[in-house]
Structures are given as structure tokens and as C-alpha cells.
Symmetry: C2
Subunit: 305 residues, 2 copies
């Protein structure tokens, strides 16, 4: 039997996902914004294909719920959440390219370069990354100029060479030369950790949190980011293609090292338990208000797909 908190969380996650999809749908309208000349149809369709694909919208959820801890403006949080999702989706589109992970399917649907072509997939990713900064800076995002700039700076550092893109570069190199444990930790902190950490930190920025609270949320994000990756690795060594909807065992087949593969499932499960406990304790100062984020920590560690 599922606990009431879990049900509450799943309902909230689905609800936020709907709001985020509506926001993304609106942002990806055919109508050019001020300063834009036109929005070419094929490119817009490719962007929409890569974004409006029924994802769980975990990162946007983390932005929205982190912001809610600080009574942030709901619309501003939603727009920043959508901006982050654009960055996440751009990374999936580019990672799926033949020159990178070469995946034909994503959530059971053809990847963007399969549904369109490689050039459109490259440009759709580029345009989504660009759009993310547009969304944050736009007047429709009602936040102080200083908060917006903090978001632009933190997002660019989480997503660029020192974060997600750098992590993908290390991940590709790891196929040729297996990294040691420290190398795996750095790789994962960059490739998946940085953006999840940013999600939680962004909520604090949107909410105008004090520096100590902002740091607390960032640490919460780091803990669940690591848990997310460990759960993914565990899934990879124990799941099968049917439940996951994409090729599994692929990381191993490509010779990629993961902490779960290095230490085994029992160690990984203990680590996951520790990370969830750490993440949840970081939220203690927020009392009852932290309920959904506490459940999010459990969710990322327990996920089945």
C-alpha cells in the first residue's frame, strides 16, 4: 500500500507537469516575440517535438516547489521552471544524436533527428538553449533584475563546459578510457548533478531566499542529483528494456563505468538510503512546507523508470 505522502507527491508532480507543459506550449508558439524576425515552421516543430513529449518534468517540479518554500511568485517560478526544462530537453536532443549516444527512441517516440533530421535536431537544441535565457530575461518573468541575472549566471555555469556539457564530454571520453572512482563522481556531478542542483537553487533565487537558504537548497539539489544518478545506474544493471522504454545495459555494453557497477547493488542501495536521509534532513528547517520536496527525494531514489 502506498503512503498518503507518496500519493500526494505523485498528484503534485503530475499537476505541475501539466502547468509546465502549458507554459512550454505557449512559449513555443509560432508567433515571433519582439526582436524576432520569424519562427520557421520546421525548426519550431522540431523544438516542440523535443520538448512536448510527456516527460515527468522533475526539474521544473523542483524549481516550483523550492520556490514555494519562500512564497515566491508562482508565475515567475513557472517560467524559470520552463526555461530549465528547455535546457534539459536541448541536452537530450543533442545527446541522442548519432555522433553522441546515437539513440533512435526517447520515451517510446522517435528522437528529434529521427522524426526530422540531424541538422534540425542540432538547431532545435541550439534554439532551446538560447530560448532558456530569453525566458529568464524577458519582461514577462516578473523578478528583480538582480535575481534574473543570478539565474542566468547560475544556469550558464550549471549547463556549460563546467557543468552539463562538460559532463557529457567526459562521458564520451569514458567510453574510450574508463575513469577511476573520482573521475566517475566528477563526471556525474557535471552531467546530471549540476542541472538538478540548479533546479533547487533556482527556486531559492526566484523566492528571494537568504544566501544560507539558497546554499541549503543547492545542497539538497546536489544530494538528490547524486541519488538520481545512482538510481539510474542501479536501474541499468537490474532492469530490462520492456519497463524502461529505451535500450538498457547500454552503458555497460559501451564499457561505461558507474558507481553502481563498481560497488554493486547492495552498496548502491545503502548509498541511496543515506542520500535520501541527508536530503530530507536539509529540509528540516522548513517543517511541513518541505513535505513535497522530501517526497521528491524519495521518488528520485526509488524510481523504476
Amino acid at each position: 500500500m502506498e503512503m498518503p505522502e507518496t500519493l500526494l507527491f505523485e498528484e503534485a508532480l503530475a499537476g505541475r507537469a501539466k502547468s509546465v507543459e502549458r507554459q512550454l506550449d505557449e512559449l513555443l508558439s509560432p508567433r515571433p516575440e519582439a526582436g524576432e524576425i520569424a519562427r520557421p515552421e520546421t525548426l519550431l516543430s522540431a523544438m516542440r517535438h523535443g520538448v512536448l513529449n510527456g516527460g515527468k518534468r522533475l526539474r521544473p517540479f523542483l524549481v516550483i516547489e523550492s520556490a514555494a518554500l519562500f512564497d515566491a511568485d508562482v508565475d515567475a517560478a513557472l517560467r524559470v521552471a520552463a526555461a530549465l526544462e528547455c535546457v534539459h530537453c536541448y541536452s537530450l536532443i543533442h545527446d541522442d544524436l548519432p555522433a553522441m549516444d546515437d539513440d533512435d527512441l526517447r520515451r517510446g517516440q522517435p528522437t528529434v533527428h529521427k522524426a526530422f533530421d540531424e541538422a534540425s535536431a542540432i538547431l532545435a537544441g541550439d534554439s532551446l538553449l538560447t530560448l532558456a535565457f530569453d525566458i529568464i530575461a524577458a519582461p514577462a518573468t516578473v523578478l528583480s533584475a538582480d535575481s534574473k541575472l543570478e539565474l542566468v549566471l547560475a544556469l550558464s555555469r550549471a549547463a556549460g563546459i563546467g557543468g552539463m556539457a562538460g559532463g557529457q564530454s567526459l562521458d564520451l571520453a569514458a567510453e574510450r578510457q574508463t575513469p577511476d572512482e573520482a573521475g566517475i563522481i566528477t563526471l556525474q556531478a557535471m552531467k546530471t548533478g549540476a542541472l538538478i542542483r540548479f533546479a533547487c537553487e533556482a527556486g531559492a533565487i526566484v523566492g528571494g531566499a537568504k544566501p544560507a537558504d539558497r546554499e541549503r537548497l543547492a545542497e539538497f539539489g546536489s544530494a538528490i542529483g547524486l541519488a538520481f544518478q545512482l538510481a539510474d545506474d542501479l536501474l541499468d544493471i537490474s532492469s530490462n528494456a520492456a519497463t524502461l522504454g529505451k535500450a538498457t545495459g547500454k552503458d555497460r555494453a559501451a564499457g561505461k563505468a558507474t558507481l553502481a557497477a563498481l560497488h554493486g547493488p547492495d552498496w548502491t542501495k545503502r548509498q541511496l538510503g543515506g542520500l535520501v536521509a541527508q536530503a530530507r534532513s536539509l529540509l528540516e528547517p522548513f517543517g511541513e512546507r518541505g513535505l513535497l520536496l522530501r517526497e521528491a527525494a524519495r521518488f528520485v531514489a526509488d524510481r523504476r523508470n
Copy 2:
């Protein structure tokens, strides 16, 4: 015999290029910035290869000289100029990919995907685009928060689906179906015009120009952006591979329509003359201070490579 103004301009262009190269070299250092985890060596090398390649740095020049009209802070203008050059170089790296224009050489050197590999070229482009927003938002760029946000917004709209990336998408589509004259104009305004327009507008923003002056500089940028493209098209139908250092006649071979191809060289030269005159007249209110930008207008129309 060359006129003294032309010599002055060429000296200034070369001088600004050196400053911009130094700034880019510093920004692309191996040392991670605050909030970055690490800067992976291969990715950084690929970024540096794509950026520190001896370009003319025309767009940065336009930022710096437009800013100088308004007595802007020189360091701030230089950083914004470097940010714009990161966007320009990202677009060249991605445009050169096999799935796009498939070029092996750029300024006589192997393109990034040739010197490294396709995945590194994709990620280097992604990371340079991301870095551009980082540079603008960073505390080291000493500008008001409002000015920085205006730069982020204007740059994202000039570079994204409604500008440069959208223009590249239209350009690829033009290989399959030849656009009409209006289509060519839109395509070129997006693909090359938007970023050159932004360069001049950005200088006005950095300099805290009044809205009317900002608009004037943006119009100047539009005029020389169009001249730049017409000169490029003219070069393409009349030049040869030896002087240009890259494959020419390629646009025609791929069946791409240009205004120069449509109307012929004489029409194109008349248009160029008109655009240069228009651009120069837009600078009249700035008197002697507009000298270098007026020469820049002549330079883009006259360029031989």
C-alpha cells in the same frame, strides 16, 4: 592608393581584434569559474580551436566602436564583444558539421569536427553559446543589471529561432526548395543580419544610449548586415577558391538562391552603394566620432574575402 581613413580603420580593426583575442583567451582558461566543477581538457581545446582562429572579429569591433560613441566603459564593451564572438564562433562550428554545411576547412584550418570529432564540435558549440550568456551576466562585466538583462534578451532573440538559428534552418530548407525574393531577404536578415544588428545595438546598450540612439545603431547594424551578405554573395559568384580560402561557388552548386544571383552583379553593386550611404548617414549625428564605424560600413561592402 588607400585613403587615410581606410588605413586608420584597418589599424583599428586589427588592434581591437588583438584585444578581443586576449579577452577570449582569458575567458577560455582551464581554471573553472565559481559554480563550475571542472573544465574538461578536450572540450576546452575544441572551444579554443573554434574561437582562437585569427578571425577578423568584425562583430566585436562593431560592439566596441558602437559603445565608444557613448563613452561606454571599455572593459565592459570588450567583454560583451567577446560574448558575441562566442555566439558567432558557435554558429560557425555547428554550421560546418557534416549534417549542416559539411565544411572541412575554416580560414585554412581544419574545422572543429575535423580537428577533434563531431561530438566535441557539437558540445564546443553548445558550450560557447552558454558561455556567452555567462560572460554578460558575470560580475566582472561592470554594467547595470538592467543593461545586462537587455543584452541577454536582445542576444537570445538575435541568435535563437527568431534570428540566426532560424535563419540557418531556412537556409538548409532553401537547398530543397528555392525561396522567392522575400524568402531570401528574411533568410539573410535572420542568418547573418540579426547578429550584426545586435552587435551595433549592444554597443548602444553598453553605453547606456537613449532609446532613439539605440534604435539608430540597430538600424545602422541592419544596413551593414545586409551589405555584408550582398558582398558575400557577390564574392561567391565572382571570386575563386584561392583568394577566399574556402570552397566557393558552393552556394550555387547547392542550388541556393541569393539576391546577387537573382539580380546580377551590377544591381548588387548599386544596392551595396546605397546601403553604405544609408549606413553612413545614420551616423551623421555623431560627427567625427563616427569615423571608424563609417569606414566599417565601407569595409563590409568592399571586402575581398
